[in-house]
């Protein structure tokens, strides 16, 4: 006779029992932690330190909070700008406000002047300890810009624009060039046309992607396809109106302005990188203890005369 308490136990039964127990016990907890801040990455920093600018602004964003777009009202941190060459430092002021009607952010700013050829560090301190830093060196000099169609191969800014038989502007015939010397890297190239513009449109058109390095000449070349810009500015909706650039009397001045910004020696080579590559937290960053990029820059402008095409 087999007693109730002494019934033989089969391994299969025990295994099934154990499996069920694991499944059920494992299945009781329904909590889950998604946001798990990392003490090695506390803030992101984005901005430039610009020689000759009257205000320096750096975006400072805490990473470990649950605000996805924007930031909480309190930064709970102190941001300082250190001149590593001189051994001095200034505290940046916190400007918390809504930008672009989207979300409130923290912009740390200072009217402190930035010197050329100098190494700076932006430091975020929590309880007196530096937790996130970005270190950069400003360019030693302003970019030297030259546009000399008469003496060089630079193409001039000529109107009226030339169009192909299919009605598209001919790039070769509607592009002007300028050359940049004396810089480690070009950080930006922008053009402003002397045209009335809608208030919502930014005055400067970006031409950074058209910057080419000419290493044998130790210089950079900026080529501006101005007919494309003018069509964009005057008829932003494709297929709208005639295929012609603005009439010369529509210009408020006989020249366009090109602003070229030099980047410091640590300026990344990120021209042509995809947005996905740019967005990776481990790329194009000089921030430790966080993410982002703070670079030193130095800008200058040149006037490009608008000529009548012969």
């Amino acid at each position: 006779m087999t007693g109730f308490g002494t019934a033989p136990r089969y391994p299969v039964g025990r295994l099934l029992g154990a499996l069920l127990a694991v499944l059920l016990l494992g299945g009781c907890d329904t909590s889950v932690t998604v946001l798990n801040p990392d003490p090695d990455y506390q803030f992101s920093l984005f901005g430039t330190l610009q020689v000759t600018a009257d205000t320096q602004v750096v975006r400072v964003e805490p990473l470990g909070d649950s605000t996805q777009v924007g930031a909480p009202a309190s930064l709970n941190a102190r941001v300082v700008l250190k001149n590593l060459d001189a051994g001095t430092q200034v505290a940046l002021r916190d400007s918390f406000g809504t930008v672009g009607n989207v979300a409130p952010v923290h912009n740390a700013w200072t009217p402190h002047a930035i010197e050329p050829g100098t190494t700076y560090r932006v430091e975020v301190q929590v309880d007196g300890q530096a937790v996130t830093t970005a270190t950069t060196t400003t360019p030693a000099q302003a970019p030297r810009l030259r546009h000399a169609p008469a003496a060089t191969r630079d193409r001039p800014f000529e109107l009226p624009c030339r169009f192909s038989a299919r009605g598209t502007p001919v790039e070769l015939a509607n592009t002007f060039d300028l050359r940049v010397r004396g810089v480690d890297a070009v950080a930006a190239a922008e053009v402003r046309y002397p045209l009335p513009r809608p208030s919502a449109r930014r005055p400067w058109l970006d031409h950074y992607d058209r910057v080419e390095e000419e290493p044998e000449e130790n210089r950079f070349r900026v080529s501006v396809f101005y007919a494309d810009d003018l069509l964009f500015l005057t008829r932003p909706n494709a297929g709208d109106g005639m295929n012609q650039c603005p009439d010369p009397n529509q210009f408020t001045a006989p020249r366009a302005v090109v602003r070229v910004t030099a980047g410091g020696p640590d300026w990344p080579d990120w021209q042509g990188a995809s947005l996905n590559a740019l967005a990776r937290p481990d790329t194009f960053s000089n921030v430790t203890g966080g993410h982002g990029f703070v670079g030193g820059v130095y800008a200058d402008t040149i006037h490009i005369p608008i000529q009548e095409r012969e």
Binding site: L23, L24, G26, G27, T30, S31, V32, T33, V34, L35, N36, P37, D38, Y41, S44, F46, G47, T48, V57, V58, R59, E61, P62, L63, G64, D65, S66, T67, Q68, V69, G70, V99, G100, V102, A103, V105, N107, A187, A188, A189, D206, Y208, D209, T261, W270, Q271, A273, S274, L275, N276, L278, A279, R280, P281, D282, T283, G292, F293, G295, V297
Partner: protein, 754 residues
């Protein structure tokens, strides 16, 4: 490669058939349809046996999904024909067949009152028995799954299977043995349909009372199905009643339904129309105490005509879904399917061939509108013609071959907040051919080799898919079965996904971005089934799938629909175990599924910041353990069903922070001017696991006769009976937690009018 093409051409040429020995050509062929006498419905799986007067068997067959049978190689002379089907009175006749005669004999079987015990399975059941990777789903199987009615639904049945992983009870996405939803081929009466599953996971375009049968291949399918690399759901809707007009109306808390069917020409032509519309949006707040912003409907219509030597139908399906997966987020999803197609099965006296042709067009559209009024939309069109020819083989078995021509139009337009607009519009023409033979090598062994090829006209070359299926029944009875399948599978289109959150259901179809490199999978399956005791049957099947050239979303912290795809390889393997006990009035079922899915991609291509050259990860549908237990009791007055299911946690990605990216390059984004592009900074993707999931569903049903032609069916039950807070997903961008549906008690009423 050349050898494979030559073999395919030889198979397609039918050359083998021409070489039949003269003794075979003098044999007679018997074929026709087996249908229910009262309704005219084709009976699938009916056994057809031809014997000599002495009792020696001369030939046998089982009817296919259209009720068609063909017994070839019957010697001339007098024979006894017996056709039987469970629940119907058998048909017996004595025939005199001439040498070389091709006789058409279509029969109608009458329902037998309580004769289940008398039915004997005379044909070797391997013709309709266990097959590798195949689950033949009958209406009764679907009805046994507790579903908030009225009526049952194929979707609820599929979700209960160990082969199937669903990421939640909303969204309509099914992952089959490591594959993704875009790798599943769903056919309704031979016409593809892209996403027939409704936003509430219990429902699809296939109500249980419309499904005649479904062949659900979780892998290892033969080459007549090309173009998808994971699974096939071949749904045959039943036709309307050719004998009398019938109607049905029902209402429950989730939906209301109406069905009308009847003869257009008595005994030959019929119609069927079924309409269902959701009510959950209106009923949810009072029933569940929470908002349930889900609306859907489906309309199905079928015209059917049949004769002794042909059967044709035209089927139209329209589905519409709209809703918010997260009730607290105003982003609204919408998708729709419109599918119209026809198919015919024909044969004549002059030939031993049967000819099947299907043609149809299908459209799938889906869109999501965000709170900021940005819109992402995708439309996909497909027009398709397919034909199949089947004929007796020189060996014991059949030869089947056919082809498909299809035109596809893919377009999408994605308007992304912070990122702008992306669009694509592609038109593609493709064709495929296949050949297949079934060789009954011995009484115990059936071998089914097949080979298919498909070509996209815009690409160089073609993909070739050799496949092989085996079924071995060593015993003399239908008891033990060994099944196996191996094969190569290719697929041209894929989907790009919205990686905003796991609950996002927006998908845009597009051709694979890797030129001349279609998605590829290699399948291997091995299964065993046998009875353990009277009424108790066990089966186990191991499976392995290797994936190559899968387009997977590139990892990016940007919050966007990711149109940048990286190439990944993958492997999935596991095993499913089933125990079934059937003894009237009880049916018990216990199933356990183990599976593992892993992808592997180059770190640079994937955009991974893990520091590894080759990154291996488990995609979000890698559910390791699935357990399901079901009990059904079918009494004279009442039927009841209980189901409990368990699923281990799915992979998810932990986040360590959020910020907004400013593009310092070109000084394009100044801190004072723009907020930037939102970034989600996550740890190693899919490394963590969501909590496990389990749920108990109950239902009880009783049918009350209200008159000679009027029945009332009352069904009550509860979904998630112990009200467990099963996590559906966590939106890693908003940290919103969305749970699956809570306890849902329901009561539905259905009236049947004959």
């Amino acid at each position: 490669m050349g050898l494979v093409v030559a073999a395919l051409l030889l198979l397609l040429s039918g050359g083998g058939v021409q070489a039949q020995p003269s003794s075979s050509t003098e044999a007679a062929t018997l074929r026709g349809f087996v249908r229910a006498a009262a309704s005219g419905q084709p009976l699938r799986g009916a056994n057809v046996v031809v014997r000599r007067l002495t009792g020696a068997r001369q030939g046998a067959a089982a009817t296919d999904e259209e009720g068609f049978y063909q017994v070839s190689g019957v010697p001339a002379g007098r024979h006894v024909l017996r056709i039987s089907y469970v629940g119907f009175r058998p048909y017996r006749d004595t025939l005199r067949l001439q040498a070389g005669e091709r006789r058409t004999l279509s029969v109608r079987l009458s329902v037998a009152a309580r004769q289940l015990g008398e039915v004997t399975v005379e044909e070797r059941a391997r013709l309709q028995g266990e097959e590798a990777g195949l689950r033949r789903v009958r209406a009764a199987d679907i009805a046994a799954i507790p579903t908030p009615g009225p009526g049952s639904d194929l979707a609820a049945y599929l979700r209960a299977q160990p082969e199937v992983t669903a990421t939640g009870d909303r969204g309509g996405r099914l992952y089959i043995r490591g594959g993704t939803p875009s790798q599943n081929l769903v056919l309704v009466d031979g016409t593809p349909i892209y996403k027939p599953f409704h936003i509430v996971g219990f429902y699809s375009a296939f109500p249980g009372n419309l499904v005649a049968s479904t062949d659900f291949y979780a892998g290892g399918f033969s080459a007549e199905h090309t173009g998808r690399i994971s699974s096939v759901m071949d749904v045959q809707l039943r036709s309307g009643n050719t004998g009398e007009v019938q109607g049905q109306g029902g209402v429950g808390p989730f939906l209301a339904s109406v069905r009308v069917e009847g003869p257009l020409q008595k005994g030959r032509k019929s119609f069927l129309v079924n309409v269902r519309h959701s009510l959950i949006e209106e009923a949810g707040p009072s029933l569940l105490g929470e908002e349930t912003p889900y609306r859907f409907y489906d309309v199905t219509a079928k015209l059917h005509t049949q004769s002794a030597s042909s059967q044709c139908s035209v089927t139209g399906v329209r589905t519409y879904d709209r809703g918010r997966i997260d009730p607290d987020v105003a982003a609204s999803f919408q998708w729709s399917n419109t599918s119209v197609g026809g198919e015919c099965l024909l044969f004549g006296q002059a030939s031993a061939q049967t000819f099947h042709v299907a043609f149809g067009a299908t459209h799938f559209g889906n869109e999501v509108r965000s709170t900021d009024q940005t819109r992402r939309a995708s439309d996909t069109w497909k027009a398709r013609t397919k034909f199949d020819l089947t004929q007796p083989a020189p060996w014991e078995g059949t030869v089947q071959w056919g082809g498909t021509i299809q035109a596809d139009q893919y377009s999408y337009a994605l308007n992304e907040p912070f990122l702008g607009f992306t669009s694509e519009d592609r038109f593609l023409l493709s064709a495929s051919l296949y050949g297949k033979t079934t060789w009954e090598a011995t009484d115990a062994l059936t071998v089914t080799p097949s080979i298919g090829g498909q070509s996209l006209f815009a690409w160089d070359g073609a993909s070739v898919d050799p496949r092989l299926r085996l079924a071995y029944q060593p015993g003399s009875e239908n008891d033990r079965t060994l099944t196996a399948a191996v094969g190569v599978y290719h697929q041209i289109p894929t989907t790009i996904a919205d990686e905003r959150d796991v609950g996002s259901i927006f998908r845009a179809w597009t051709p694979t971005p890797f030129l001349n490199k279609p998605l590829r999978a290699d399948h291997a399956l091995l299964g065993w089934a046998q009875p353990l005791a009277p009424g108790l049957r066990a089966s186990v099947e191991g499976w392995y799938k290797r994936f190559q050239d899968l387009p997977v979303p590139r990892w990016t912290p940007l919050v966007r629909t990711n149109t940048t795809l990286a190439r990944a390889d993958g492997r999935a393997y596991g095993a499913d175990v089933r125990l079934r006990y059937t003894r009237d009035p009880v049916r018990l079922s216990l199933s356990y599924g183990y599976g593992r899915v892993a992808y592997e991609a180059a770190g640079d291509a994937l955009g991974a910041w893990t520091g590894e050259d080759l990154v291996e990860y488990n995609p979000p549908h890698d559910r390791r353990h699935k357990l399901s237990a079901r009990a059904t009791w079918q009494g004279d007055l009442l039927s009841a069903s209980v189901r409990w299911q368990y699923g281990s946690g799915l992979p998810f990605t932990q986040v360590y922070g959020y910020d907004t990216l400013l593009e310092i390059r070109g000084r394009r984004d100044a801190p004072t001017d723009v907020v930037g592009r939102p970034r989600t900074l996550y740890r190693r993707p899919y490394r963590d696991r969501l909590p496990a999931y389990h749920r108990l569903d109950l239902s009880a049903k009783r049918t009350l006769p209200l008159g000679p032609a009027l029945d009332l069916t009352v069904e009550g039950g509860a979904i998630n009976a112990y009200n467990r807070a099963n996590l559906f997903y966590i939106d890693i961008f908003t940290l919103d937690r969305v749970d699956q549906l809570p306890l849902i008690p329901y009561l539905s009423l259905q009236v049947d009018v004959r």
